[in-house]
């Protein structure tokens, strides 16, 4: 799980263009939206695409995504449980 979390942090940084960040800068349990990283609706959609491209998970409903995208940890747990790649 730890390896997945590190990998996921690096992928998030690249996908969302967080130029000045390293994985060490991202708190695994901090909220991704609202405070924390302060992601917006386009970022959410880009994360949905990331889940499909990297892990073969299709999230059809952005609202269901809210629970999945609470934090890096919840994302990693969901990926672990549902990945097809």
């Amino acid at each position: 799980m730890e390896k997945l979390i590190e990998q996921l942090k690096a992928q998030i940084i690249e996908a969302l263009n967080f130029e000045d960040m390293t994985p060490a800068d991202i708190d695994t349990d901090a909220p991704l939206f609202g405070e924390g990283l302060g992601l917006d609706s386009i970022d959410a959609l880009e994360l949905i695409m990331l889940m499909d491209r990297e892990y073969g998970i299709k999230l059809a409903d952005p609202k269901a995504g809210k629970a999945v995208f609470q934090s890096v940890r919840t994302m990693a747990e969901y990926i672990q449980a549902n990945r097809t790649k």
Binding site: F18, L45, E46, M49, R53
Partner: protein, 179 residues
């Protein structure tokens, strides 16, 4: 129509009100260098495509030169180019190749040329007009701007903001005032 400030940015040089600004980098890295030196407080810059970065930086330097603060006075942002958003269109196309189909929403956002005017409006809280034209040459923009700014005391950011590839871009932008 009075030109208050003007800027010209090429892939290797920057000229602000006729004075050269020394830069170390070229191409897209030049834009990043200018961002770090003159802005640095707007992480969204790194989400932008090259065209939007180009327009963003040109506007940033022009408005910093002038006494105009964020919430005031810029009535319009009127930009034009010849290539529309072709560079970003090409980047987006790479995410929808057959057999490797993962359309990127973050890239699709920038497949419209007027987005650069939207980025400038958001940064500087400009709730005036934002318009984008595709023209054969910068000279064609003059009558369009002249016929747009008919009210007295209009201030506008106008100019040419062209990007056909990541390291092939050019901008000439002015802060103008109609009195």
């Amino acid at each position: 129509m009075q030109v208050i400030h003007d800027i010209e940015i090429t892939t290797t040089s920057v000229l602000l009100d006729g004075k050269t600004i020394a830069v170390e980098q070229t191409g897209d890295k030049l834009l990043v260098e200018l961002y770090r030196r003159y802005a640095g407080d707007y992480p969204k810059f790194f989400k932008m495509d090259t065209l939007s970065r180009l327009g963003f930086i040109a506007a940033e330097l022009l408005l910093k030169q002038s006494a105009i603060s964020d919430q005031q006075l810029v009535d319009a942002v009127i930009l034009a180019n010849r290539s529309a958003s072709i560079k970003n269109d090409t980047d987006y196309l790479a995410t929808i190749t057959e057999g490797n189909y993962y359309p990127s929403p973050a890239l699709f956002v920038y497949t419209l040329p007027n987005i650069v005017t939207g980025e400038i409006a958001i940064r500087h809280h400009i709730q005036g007009e934002t318009s984008f034209y595709i023209l054969n040459s910068p000279e064609q923009l003059k009558p369009i701007v002249a016929s747009t700014l008919t009210a007295k005391h209009s201030t506008a950011l106008v100019g040419w903001c062209e990007c056909s590839k990541q390291d092939n871009f050019y901008a000439k932008m002015q802060l103008i005032w109609r009195n």
